[in-house]
């Protein structure tokens, strides 16, 4: 429909008439209401979040021949090299160790990248945040989408490993999917919490980076948790390690280790705590974020 002045009114008619009001901070009721609204508005814009995440990955590899499949290739090369080295060092059978290491590393990279990217999800979008009113949820989702896409490319390596070493694959593997969904929720929550924290305190990203290095070594990624059996002191480092539970609920189904109720419950508890803390952090900081850019 074109109106008198020749403008296409149909473009305007496509979206609803918004009513917007904001006011000075009035305490937690208002904070939670605004934070909830932000999350709802952000999910309504899921197409935008997806497009932004895809663009991030594509831009990183624009102009290269393999494109994002460089991710796949470099992961495969790393796992291959490390697998042979460590199998030799630890005197383990390469046929069982390499699939274990491959799955663990790829999953860890996904988890780790969500933790690390969470810190920059708001500071990296400062132009958008200061330029227009957009739900902060968009930036959090964008970072999860980006890491998810990278992980998607790496899944190919897992398939290749399973085929190459003829690992027994069954429907039990599909139980990894609910675990991965839980990870996505965790990544989303982390983005709010670390994103806000890193925007306010600019040293935090470096601290998170160092802590993740340590987490990598104290979590059974390259080694198997069973080596700690019988050493109660040493076992503490995995019993108190939230990453261990999160990693195990996805890795277990993939490599055919049984999932215990205990493990799943702990992973869910870790996630619940994370979501609650993030909700508090986001409600508290949402109105201040733009000032911290």
């Amino acid at each position: 429909m074109v109106d008198l002045t020749g403008t296409d009114r149909a473009i305007r008619a496509t979206h609803r008439q918004p009513l917007f009001s904001t006011s000075a901070d009035r305490g937690w009721a208002q904070r939670f209401r605004l934070a909830t609204q932000d999350v709802i508005d952000g999910f309504v814009l899921w197409r935008l979040c997806w497009a932004l995440g895809v663009a991030d990955v594509r831009l990183r590899y624009r102009g290269s021949v393999l494109g994002p499949f460089w991710l796949t290739l470099s992961t495969a090369v790393m796992i291959g090299a490390m697998g042979f080295l460590y199998a030799d060092l630890f005197h383990t059978n390469i046929h069982t160790y390499l699939p274990y290491l491959g799955v663990s590393l790829i999953l860890w990279n996904f988890l780790g990248s969500m933790v690390l990217d969470a810190g920059s999800c708001f500071t990296g979008a400062d132009g958008l945040i200061k330029g227009t009113r957009m739900p902060f949820t968009v930036h959090a989702l964008r970072s999860v989408v980006r890491d998810g896409i990278v992980f998607g490319h790496n899944i190919i390596v897992i398939f290749l490993l399973f085929i190459f070493f003829s690992v027994h694959v069954s429907f039990y593997c599909l139980l990894a999917i609910p675990g991965l969904l839980l990870w996505l929720i965790d990544g989303f929550a982390l983005a709010f919490m670390f994103g806000a924290f890193c925007a306010r305190y600019r040293d935090v990203p470096q601290i998170i980076g160092s802590l993740m290095q340590i987490a990598f070594f104290v979590t059974p990624v390259m080694w198997n948790a069973s080596v700690l059996a019988g050493h109660p002191r040493a076992e503490l480092i995995i019993r108190l390690n939230p990453f261990y539970y999160l990693l195990e609920i996805v890795r277990g189904p993939l490599i055919g280790d049984p999932l215990t109720f205990n493990m799943v419950a702990k992973a869910v508890i870790v996630s619940l705590v994370l979501v609650l803390v993030s909700a508090l952090a986001f409600a508290r900081t949402r109105g201040r974020l733009a000032y911290w850019m």
Partner: protein
């Protein structure tokens, strides 16, 4: 009904990344000026103080004032980007803010990809995005550059693209900072016509600028900001007669005669003339 009202809005910028103690001393020492202490005893810059005004359909507000008087901050606060330290803002209507020319654009993506992202941000589906794309393309007139990464654009081209994107989606409230002046004369004329059409739909424009000629042409109300406070609020020429030195004001009167201001809503003659 489209409206925008700001009631006693104040905005404070916390001074985080600085030495708090010595700063506090100097802040407390400075009796006047714009430094202050917020509720939590942190030093702040008082960017805006008790800004109140109401805009209704057809209002085109110009913001004037020296550098650092709070024009851009006010635009950001009106966009809902900064939650105010006190006061209330209420808006009815679709709002687009053009605060800096590259805002919201990803410099590595092509113009077309940026238009698509904007469409998604506005909640559009494929057919609408296609329409948005062709509208922006024809208005911006940047030719084949539309398919090149934005970082290869000249600043004038970025302005064209940004303005086209912001106005193609037909905002009911448009907030613009002065960077729009980076466009050439032909583009400014075109932009003015577009704003004119917009305003005919009985919408709201808020424009911050140092160019009194542009403000006098585009706006029918002017707010003069100084040190974050409203110093004067009224019809453009009334405010300018106070704001500008006499000889510059005379020049302005001359230039207004050369290029008449945007027509008032409902002015029958101009509607016919452009149809």
């Amino acid at each position: 009904m489209t409206h925008l009202s700001s009631f006693n809005i104040s905005v404070d910028f916390p001074l985080y990344h600085s030495d708090n103690r010595s700063l506090k001393k100097s802040v407390l020492g400075a009796a006047a000026g714009r430094f202050g202490i917020d509720r939590n005893q942190r030093p702040v810059v008082q960017a805006l103080r008790d800004i109140s005004f109401t805009l209704r359909s057809g209002d085109r507000l110009g913001l004037i004032g020296p550098n650092g008087s709070g024009k851009t901050t006010l635009l950001r606060a009106l966009s809902g980007i900064y939650q105010p330290a006190s006061g209330t803002l209420s808006i009815e209507g679709k709002l687009t803010s053009l605060l800096d020319s590259t805002q919201g654009m990803n410099m590595e993506l092509t113009g077309r990809e940026n238009i698509r992202l904007r469409g998604l941000f506005l909640g559009m589906r494929k057919p609408d995005i296609a329409r948005l794309e062709s509208d922006v393309e024809s208005f911006a007139e940047i030719g084949e550059f539309i398919d090149l990464p934005v970082r290869n654009y000249s600043s004038g081209m970025i302005v064209r693209l940004a303005f086209a994107m912001a106005t193609a989606a037909q905002p009911e409230i448009l907030l613009m900072d002065e960077w729009i002046m980076a466009g050439d004369t032909a583009f400014l004329e075109k932009a003015k016509r577009r704003v004119e059409t917009m305003v005919r739909h009985a919408d709201i424009l808020v424009l911050a600028s140092h160019s009194s000629a542009i403000i006098a042409q585009w706006c029918n109300r002017v707010i003069w900001l100084e040190h974050g406070k409203i110093l004067a609020d009224g019809r453009p020429l009334d405010v300018f007669s106070e704001y500008l030195p006499p000889e510059q004001f005379k020049e302005l009167i001359g230039s207004v005669r050369m290029a008449p201001p945007i027509a008032e809503v409902g002015s029958a003659e101009r509607l016919q003339a452009s149809d």
